[in-house]
Structures are given as structure tokens and as C-alpha cells.
Symmetry: C2
Subunit: 155 residues, 2 copies
DNA sequence: GATCCTATACTCGGATAGGCTATGTCCGAGTCACCAGGG
DNA sequence: CCCTGGTGACTCGGACATAGCCTATCCGAGTATAGGATC
């Protein structure tokens, strides 16, 4: 999985707390990551419609929906793509004993198992929203740090 | 995910049906894949202890355990490695508002969610054994093809 | 004092290089089976 | 007829190139703001 997913999730959490647009450069400084590369991830979030970009001075990124309506899966798929990790190449239809296409009416059992696992993974990520993450972060982070973060974003 | 996982699973299914050692070259011909690269995957299975290699004439690979005791997860981890897809870089401890290490007693919520999803994925793969795959393949494949496969392996 | 215009600085977006893992390939070391020769 | 030694071919195992994707970067197009001049 792409490492940018982690950054994207952290950014969503931060954006949820800030009521005003936050520039990509400020998010990068806050997380101490490459500004250029983070910009790429934010562009992916923008293409997926999760965040909205505002140009010009005092511009930046804002969430388009309430954090409670953005699942972790949304962010993961926006950055890593929605293609399943396993891709069946239909080995049954290859080689000297290739099963003809008309016989291949049922999906390959291996692909079925992999798809099932992939669905379980997605379901697990779909069950958690960014709002849940925000709540958890607020519970485990000192209040002082949170207010410092607010101040940092407004500066 | 590595594409070789699919080959490895197909090979385990085939090996389960053949009572005698099967050379890597024959498995590659049966599945119409690169012999050299399939050899690499089989070596990974061998290192993981899932299959046992026999050298010399009429040698090849054999399963070390009954197919009912080999889970799909075993094969996946043998080939792709057992490292989780998501790697937490502890963003909290970076940047100008870095939380000191002594405050970071609870794991990052994002990592927690990702680990949970990863566990769900693994659990789903652990619930299916190679024997289940063999059963399913036997149910959806013409009996003639199966006997042809037996003959092909013995030739 | 209010309004309009201009210049500025700041924003995002897409096009552009580099590094690393996954893919694909090759050849050598080791081993078992077979066969010929001898007892 | 049985045993033994040698030969041969076949097997796996690890070391070696290649390609595609992830990582990282840069500069240009566009825009909201701030300030100043004008009415």
C-alpha cells in the first residue's frame, strides 16, 4: 500500500478540525513531510471529491463533506486506487489442459477467496469514519497540543 | 500483491492431487507460465516449509502437510511476506508539534484501524484451506479434465 | 469616506526525473536412477 | 542370477539483468487579497 495513504488520513483529520482552508504547504510543515509529494496526494483527494481546493491568497483545502460522512476506505481508495489487490489471470484457460471459455461459467475458486478477503478488508475500513479518528485523536492527545495545532494552522 | 501468489496457490492445488513429486518445469508447462520465475515462487514455498523438494531424477515438489492443514494465508505469506501492508511512520512524533515519545503510550488511531482491517483480511484467508480449494475445483471442473491432468503429471 | 483599479503574492495543477521493489532469466552444485560389467 | 561401480541426465538453489511503479520534485496558470489612487 502507498505510504501516502497515511499522510492523506492525517490531513483529513486536521482539515476536519480547521474551519478555514488550509494550504498544502502548512499541512506538510505540520507533519514534517515533503511538501511537493503531499501536494500530489491532496490532488488525488481533490479528484476523488473528498476535498475542495480554493485558489489565491488565504486559499487551501477544505473537506467537502462532514467528517462523519467520509470513511477511511474513501481516503484509501482515493489515493491508492479502487482496484483490488489480487487480479485473477484465469490460469484455468491457459496451458495444454486449458478449460474452454464456455466451460468457465463459475469464477475461479482462488479468485473467489481473494475477493472475499478483499471485501472483508474494505468492509473493515468502511466501518470507520474520519470523525471516529478525530474523536480518538482528541481522546488520546493532550488538550494543549490540540490548541497549539489550531494556532499553528491560523498563523 | 505479488502476482506469483496465484501461481503458488494453483501449484499447491495440483500438488495436493498428485501423490508423487512434481518437477517445477512440469508445473510451469501445465499452467503456461515462465518456468524460471515459477521456480522462484516454489523456492519461497520451500523456505516457508509448505513444500519439500526432492533432488535428482523423478524428483520434484511435494506438500509437507495434508492440504487440509495448509491455509491460503500460509501460501500468501510465504510468497508475499508476512509484513502488513500498512506501515505506521508515527507522524505524531514529527513536525513542530511533535508529541514526545513518553506521551505516545497509545498506538496511533490510524494504525489501529489499518491493523484491524489487515487482521480481518488475514482472518478471511486463514479460514480457507488448500483442501477447500481442491474440493471446489473438483466440483466445478469436468472429470475428464481432472484425469487428463493426472495423466499429464505422470507422463 | 467609498469605490474602483492595479499590482502582488499566494494558491493549486499537471508535467517531469530518480530509486526501489517486483518481475523475469540464467547457470552451477548436488542427487537419484539407470545400465553395464563382474562375481 | 545378484551385486557393484560408474555414468548420465535430471533436479533444485541461489546469483544476475530488466521493467514498472512509487517516491520525490519543479515550474507554470490562475485567483483572491491588499493597497493606493480617484471620485
Amino acid at each position: 500500500m502507498s505510504g501516502g495513504v497515511e499522510w492523506g488520513l492525517h490531513c483529513c483529520v486536521v482539515l476536519s478540525g480547521a474551519g478555514e482552508p488550509v494550504p498544502a504547504a502548512k499541512l506538510a510543515e505540520l507533519h514534517d513531510v515533503s511538501p511537493s509529494y503531499l501536494a500530489k496526494q491532496l490532488q488525488l483527494l481533490s479528484r476523488a471529491g473528498l476535498v475542495r481546493s480554493t485558489l489565491g491568497q488565504s486559499g487551501g483545502y477544505v473537506l467537502t463533506r462532514p467528517a462523519s460522512e467520509i470513511t477511511v476506505l474513501d481516503v484509501v481508495e482515493a489515493i491508492d486506487g479502487a482496484v483490488p489487490a489480487f487480479r485473477c489471470t484465469e490460469v484455468r484457460q491457459r496451458g495444454p489442459l486449458a478449460t474452454p471459455v464456455e466451460e468457465c461459467t463459475t469464477p475461479c475458486p482462488i479468485a473467489r477467496v481473494m475477493d472475499s478477503a478483499d471485501n472483508a478488508w474494505r468492509q473493515s475500513l468502511r466501518a470507520v469514519t474520519v470523525a471516529d479518528l478525530v474523536s480518538e485523536v482528541g481522546r488520546t492527545t493532550p488538550a494543549e497540543t490540540l490548541s497549539l495545532a489550531r494556532a499553528f494552522l491560523r498563523s
